[in-house]
Symmetry: C2
Subunit: 270 residues, 2 copies
């Protein structure tokens, strides 16, 4: 994948962990990342949740890169236990062996010292389990984890694409993601997104269709979407959302405001 300087970057998210596949927890990490990256103007194309298995994780990463993603962000599977398999699977996907990364090792040692001082873990030195979390695919950069023990992992690929691996515990995920953003500033845009929502005077999405089709034709750069709350809801009226992304806030606001005025004019005409 060669990252072009124009156009929005394509992002895929991969959430790793059987607890998501069992329906035990909602995938709040994906919501956080998708929202944050979208508000910056990135296009999140796909979110995939897979099991804690080497084969499933390796396939998901390989497929996401084959779909020409500029950035693939994984969450989960970075911890010390046997079902934390992300780095081994990433190494397989990239065909790069794992090796203890000196800087990651320092991060892990100092994290366990910090937790030991808080009385939370024993000071056992570099056990096999701890060594695992600082063994990264060759050529990776560790990303500091201010909350937990396992660093994030950033791999830049030839051509400009990148894979970022974040921990699965939401608080750690956010801390590592925040630390990774400045490292990715050439890749993650800082666009502005403007959004408007109006209520249509109908509960019938089928009646709105010709209007929405026309809007999409006239404003290809504005995302026009109807949301049916469902006929069982208290308020059954359709909501229509307009969204536009641009380099400046003003540009995005102007685009979406123009589309909204046109929508209201078309609707008034009936």
């Amino acid at each position: 994948v060669r990252v072009e300087k124009t156009g929005p970057i394509h992002v895929e998210l991969i959430s790793i962990g059987r607890e998501i596949l069992r329906g035990n927890i909602p995938d709040s990490n994906a919501v956080h990342l998708a929202g944050h990256l979208s508000r910056r103007g990135a296009l999140v194309h796909r979110i995939t949740a897979v099991d804690d298995s080497d084969r499933a994780i390796t396939s998901a990463i390989t497929e996401a890169l084959e779909r020409e993603s500029h950035l693939v962000v994984t969450t989960g599977g970075l911890g010390p236990t046997a079902d934390d398999r992300t780095l081994g699977a990433l190494a397989d996907a990239l065909k790069r062996p794992l090796a203890v990364h000196p800087h990651a090792r320092e991060m892990v040692e100092s994290a366990y010292r910090r937790l030991h001082e808080r009385g939370l873990v024993a000071l056992e030195g570099m056990t096999a389990a701890r060594q695992k979390i600082c063994s990264l695919p060759i050529g990776s950069e560790p990303v500091p984890n201010a909350v937990g023990t396992a660093p994030g992992v950033l791999v830049r690929l030839p051509g400009g694409a990148a894979v970022l691996c974040l921990p699965g515990v939401p608080e750690e995920m956010r801390a590592v993601f925040d630390a990774a953003i400045p490292m990715l500033k050439d890749l993650i845009p800082n666009a502005h997104v403007a959004r408007r929502e109006v209520e249509a005077p109908t509960a019938d999405e089928s009646a709105l269709r010709p209007l929405l089709d026309r809007m999409s034709e006239e404003f290809p750069a504005v995302w026009v979407k109807s949301h049916a709350p469902g006929f069982g809801s208290e308020n059954v009226l359709i909501r229509v959302t307009l969204e536009a992304s641009a380099r400046t806030r003003q540009e995005a606001e102007t685009m979406v405001e123009g589309a909204l005025r046109r929508l209201l004019a078309l609707a008034a005409r009936g």
Copy 2:
């Protein structure tokens, strides 16, 4: 895919809708379906969220079937507007043309009549938008939607696998899924799942690893998983979950209870 009568069925979920990829809403449908199907003993292998685009949906369905899923369940994209694209994309994936299904047409007409009587929609007859929601890939069965207008769609494939398409509005999704379960009783098992959770006397997942490795070796049929709440949490202690699935509740309880006793014995030994 030929569905074997033994072993758990493999399920994939596909969630369709840009609002998920934008991080505007959590994918609560996937949580509901994954939880329900897992509790019945099915193995949900992958959850994929894709955009409202023909190509993305067709690829996601094709890939899920190529991974030898017995059941693929999609949510979203069944409505009347232009960005509701699931049935067209499914038709492409299965290489079966769309045609108005007489029974689906009756369901849609009667749903709009019902909503008209509640004063919610105009009685416009079979508009293009309404005809779209009863145009199914040839060989499909419509599934009644007691809440909204768009029927669900069930396609049985040669070999015994099936694709089930559900609406995206959560209340409609649940109604259509409930109606589909009896239609899928040869495919969806009715296993019992037993579950135990214990708190480990440590916050250090790396210290638990040898114990959990041993449990996985001794009890391959029991899912043993540690959950780190994260070192920033109020209660930092690791929780360990044990889960087993079997044909009878008693069998599942016996399996998980035996594993729990062994875990406590190993832990007491240090």
